[in-house]
Symmetry: C2
Subunit: 296 residues, 2 copies
């Protein structure tokens, strides 16, 4: 990992932790357990790749950092709620997340359901707050982008396809679509939200969207490679589960070697989308390269 | 129930069903099951009391009906997602809702979790859509009001208190606070959102807020009375569960007679808040009266 990215990751991790620490203080009443569970889920874990992408895109366009960190926290709240619910016994039934017990293990199932729900709502509370942007049009564009990326048109739709994948055999186009929704939608929203904060008009976002689409797919292929080859300690979660569940993945469909080559190609293509940017986009380029190097 | 209310309920039930039918068509791909579960949960059930309150308030202020119905559908999506998750085995473990099997019984638990999540996001997708209001400031105010009413500051916070109530003995002020969050927050949001659509400035909403607060509390007391006295068929769900769970309710704390008198007093107080409105607020008055008559 290059120094630029290493520094940026360390910075965003601190910024997102600090933002959540301020945004959701533990209340002095019987709601305390809910907020403790929310804080347990969102503070001190995860690479913060989505906020990093959002802030890196916003930085290119001169956005005030406190605004982009708030929007990044909203995006991360959605990502984390989906992990909390995904880890539930009725879903993936995972015991570990980021190397610590999952929310329903550390607390209980009912609290995990509620904490996920409350994090989902928190995302829209953060984005609709004038502290995120003084401009109502910017705020509502952020809300719309995140809502569309999260619900049945996006992430939740992809998760449903993933559940169905346990009982059906999907071909490569269907797996690609599944992953574009399940993982790609939020990664795309990260870049889009950075551009919205930067007041880049929709027609000026084409290249950024191309970049996001390609790294989103590369990310998922790399994830499948980690699941296929990696060790649980490095991943911070259980591995080899897809194969055990009989699910098709990019690796099962393409083989590890072709999957790796495909991810590499997507990353190069993503970087090409940034060709009309100068050194100000070096962090986005570094993120793209990092995505396929994660599993080494 | 008076004719004005009867007609208004029938109308809003049709309007909300029709709105959801248009907003979430079943997609022709493997996300279909998710959207089917969402539609199963939100179409053809429930009194639609929250959309009714929203639209009745908006009607007073001359709001285009298609706009208020959309906002009402968003509000109802939040209410219904909370029911879907509340019914889960790890929460209340209910088998029936509105007289039909709960979502996790009709589909499965994982689908119920996802459908609830997607309905939560759908609410913000609907509100952020220019079809709900051409004015970005109105849209973001709607989003902010609903997000605050739904998350840990509101409904989800109240649900957490409700979970804690199974193991702790709450006094009357704590039960009141619990219910103000769990049920009152969304009922308050209904009236607030109607006023936002009607461009009533915040300082002009004081009386409407007083009305909403009082009917919210009256509603919950009436609910406790139904749970205490009612039969499952009329309620469309299991009854007598609070007592079985050893939970304090308004009825256990006040006794049925005083609880009923308290609800009646709140309804009269709520109607008094509407005194500077003329006959255009008759529907809101009818809703207030209906709330304590539900259990008869």
């Amino acid at each position: 990992m290059d120094d630029l990215l290493k520094t940026a990751l360390r910075q965003i991790q601190q910024e997102i932790d600090a933002a959540f620490d301020v945004i959701i203080p533990v209340p002095q009443d019987t709601r305390a357990k809910l907020v403790q569970a929310m804080r347990y889920a969102v503070i001190g874990g995860g690479k913060r790749l989505r906020p990093l992408l959002l802030c890196a895109t916003a930085d290119i366009h001169g956005v005030d950092r406190s605004a982009s960190v708030r929007a990044g926290a909203a995006l991360e709240a959605i990502h984390v709620y989906s992990l909390v619910h995904d880890d539930l016994p009725c879903m993936d039934d995972d015991e570990l997340r980021h190397g610590k017990p999952t929310v329903h293990r550390a607390f209980d199932e009912a609290t995990a359901v509620l904490a996920g729900d409350a994090l989902n709502d928190l995302a829209f509370e953060i984005l609709s707050d004038p502290a995120t942007s003084g401009d109502p049009f910017t705020r509502i564009e952020l809300v719309r982008t995140l809502a569309l990326a999260s619900g049945h048109h996006g992430m939740a739709g992809g998760q449903m396809m993933d559940l169905v994948a346990e009982n059906e055999t999907f071909d490569l186009p269907t797996i690609t679509r599944l992953q574009q929704l399940k993982t790609g939608a939020l990664l795309g929203a990260a870049v889009e939200m950075g551009a919205i904060l930067g007041r880049v008009p929709p027609e000026g976002r084409t290249h950024l969207r191309g970049y996001a689409r390609d790294i989103g797919l590369a990310f998922q292929i790399a994830d499948d490679l980690i699941d296929h080859e990696g060790d649980a300690e490095a991943a911070g979660k259980a591995v080899g589960k897809d194969a055990a569940a009989g699910k098709q993945t990019f690796v099962s469909l393409l083989g590890a070697e072709r999957a790796r080559a495909q991810a590499q190609m997507l990353v190069e293509q993503a970087i090409e989308y940034l060709q009309h940017y100068g050194s100000e986009a070096d962090l986005l380029r570094a993120v793209a390269r990092f995505i396929v190097e994660r599993d080494r």
